[in-house]
């Protein structure tokens, strides 16, 4: 502290207002961290310790047995193959959904930003307001549609659904970003004879890495955390991790193993949490994009 210049800092550390501010922030931080802490300590205790002890106390004997069980052998009521099945299903849903939805939305945002045509803004407006419609309103017709297409209850259906419902926010994100790039670049590309795809692939995409990162973060967390679309469209054998987690924890059969349940819960939360902690500001930018209108 001695290195810092003296006297100029507006609030001194012992100012009562500052103490109050830090006090409130710290209390709130404890409330926010508590569930994460409880999840972790519970998942590392044995069942006897859970029955006798208190949910906040750290484990006396640290065990990773519940984690192994959650991953490998936990039962969903039907099968006892653990969460790993759901994990790989989620990966299978996630990768194509993220790639396809971002490809479609980025090209679409580029068309809206740089190649406006008659009616393009109308469709864009419907798209944005459409994102406020509760999914429940569109579920049944979408079930009929995917059934007619012959893909209901398969990975294709759930990928299609994620592409559709990811479109509003992603298009908004890309459209606003491309519109903020200097128009001279676009015009220079035109003068040099580049067409729609040439400008997109050679000028726009290389300049837009940050927004692609934001889009990937947004989609990976959103799709990984999805429950509703997975349970309806993916089909029983493709249930994503969230669905399987819920089936494991809320299955009514057998003795409840709270340590295994909490280990399973952490494992399901691990992917988005990891992305969140690694990405920091990009995540904030992604979620704030929905609030900033174009």
């Amino acid at each position: 502290m001695a290195i810092e210049p003296r006297g100029t800092r507006p609030g001194r550390m012992l100012d009562p207002t500052r103490i109050m501010i830090y006090g409130v922030l710290i209390v709130a931080a404890v409330y926010y961290l508590l569930p994460l802490y409880v999840m972790i300590v519970t998942s590392m205790k044995g069942m006897p310790e859970i029955r006798l002890g208190n949910i906040f106390s750290p484990p006396v004997e640290v065990t990773f047995e519940p984690w192994v069980k959650a991953w490998d052998t936990a039962c969903t009521g039907l099968y006892c193959e653990g969460l790993k099945v759901g994990f790989w299903n989620s990966v299978q849903i996630l990768i194509p959904s993220v790639i396809i939805s971002i490809m479609v939305a980025s090209v679409n945002g580029y068309a809206l930003a740089n190649w406006r045509f008659r009616g393009s803004e109308v469709f864009f407006t419907i798209l944005i307001f459409g994102s406020f419609i509760p999914y429940q309103v569109m579920l049944y017709p979408l079930v009929i549609l995917t059934r007619e297409l012959g893909i209901f209850g398969s990975l294709y259906a759930v990928i299609l659904i994620h592409t559709i419902f990811g479109m509003p926010i992603l298009t908004l994100l890309f459209r606003n970003y491309f519109a903020s790039l200097p128009q001279e670049l676009f015009k220079a590309g035109r003068v040099d004879g580049a067409g729609f795809w040439g400008i997109f692939l050679k000028i726009m995409v290389p300049m837009s890495l940050p927004i692609f990162v934001v889009a990937v973060i947004l989609q990976v967390t959103g799709i990984w955390n999805d429950f509703l679309f997975g349970v309806i469209f993916a089909g029983t054998k493709n249930f994503p991790m969230t669905v399987q987690l819920n089936n494991i924890v809320n299955s009514t059969q057998g003795v409840k193993e709270y340590n295994v349940n909490m280990a399973a819960t952490i494992l399901t939360g691990a992917v988005p949490l990891l992305i969140y902690f690694l990405s920091g500001k990009y995540f904030v930018r992604g979620i704030a994009a929905g609030a900033v209108k174009g």
Binding site: V38, M39, F123, I126, A291
Partner: protein, 296 residues
């Protein structure tokens, strides 16, 4: 592309091709599917949609079903409480974060991480913390307060608070982040001017800054409100609607009648009511936003 007679319909052909997914999504899904649902909510559909139209019969039945009225009541209580709470707490946290504090990034990371989690994860963690046999209640009892009761999940009248605690835990950080962005957009000169005039900080917030942030508040309100209407996963994970029907919500009603009970007509009527609710939230907002643009 270099045709001699430029036909307006063929201009920008690539852009139009690129917009095909958007056009299909808006026309087929957002407009088409919604209209289909509204239309068939007036039909006598049971296990499958049928073309026999019966007027408002499904709605009559819907609103005479105790499960539905309970769902509506729950979502109203949940919605109003969580909106007020998350806006107030979110704003206060953001205002505190804006006081040039140390470790701002650490605090922000902590407040926002629940938002990165699935509602299923949130629901299951809180189910465990609120567990009457092993959770918070038992911890306090073990400390010596034997009669302490904090059994929200098993009580018919209290289970809604369990949903609220979990929902607010997940969502307030998001509100805080939006509010903080709004506060950072306020001109520094406002603060200088109010300091020169000797106006207390809280008064500046209440009478100057908050009115200036009207737009941020309204947008946040619309985003959380339309999220609240579709509340589903959290309920499934935390309480599954129980005990009894005490924590049922409209989105769950739709799902259960559509896929588990084979009563499509009821589900469609219920989802039409949800759509109407969202429109009631959305239309004044659109009016405000677009009315402003026209004037400006």
């Amino acid at each position: 592309m270099d045709s001699a007679r430029p036909n307006p319909y063929f201009r920008n052909l690539n852009a139009k091709a690129a917009a095909v997914p958007m056009v299909l999504t808006t026309l087929v899904v957002f407009v088409g599917c919604s209209i289909w649902t509204v239309v068939y909510s007036f039909s006598a559909s049971r296990a499958l949609p049928i073309n026999e139209f019966v007027g408002f019969a499904q709605y009559d039945r819907l609103f005479s079903t105790s499960r539905w009225t309970k769902s509506v009541e729950n979502i109203a209580v949940y919605g109003v409480t969580s909106l007020i709470f998350s806006l107030v707490v979110g704003f206060i946290l953001a205002a505190f974060m804006d006081q040039k504090i140390r470790f701002e990034n650490t605090f922000r990371t902590i407040y926002l991480y629940p938002f990165a989690l699935s509602f299923i994860v949130t629901g299951l963690v809180w189910q465990w913390i609120l567990n009457p046999t092993f959770g918070l209640q038992q911890v306090v009892r073990d400390l010596g307060w034997e009669s302490f009761t904090f059994d929200l999940i098993s009580g018919r009248d209290t289970v809604i608070y369990a949903l609220l605690i979990a929902g607010i835990w997940q969502g307030t950080g998001f509100v805080m982040a939006l509010m903080l962005a709004g506060l950072r957009g306020i001109d520094e000169d406002i603060w200088k001017a109010s300091r020169v005039d000797g106006i207390p900080v809280w008064k500046t917030y209440l009478f100057v800054v908050i009115p200036m942030m009207r737009g941020v508040f309204i947008t946040t309100l619309v985003i959380i409100a339309s999220g609240i209407v579709r509340l589903y996963d959290l309920v499934v994970a935390l309480t599954n609607g129980g005990p009894g029907i005490a924590s049922e919500v409209p989105a769950k009603y739709v799902y259960d009648f559509m896929f588990a009970r084979g009563n499509v007509g009821q589900a469609l009527a219920a989802s039409t009511v949800m759509l109407t609710t969202v429109l009631i939230i959305l239309i004044p907002w659109v009016y405000l936003e677009y009315g402003k643009k026209k004037q400006g």
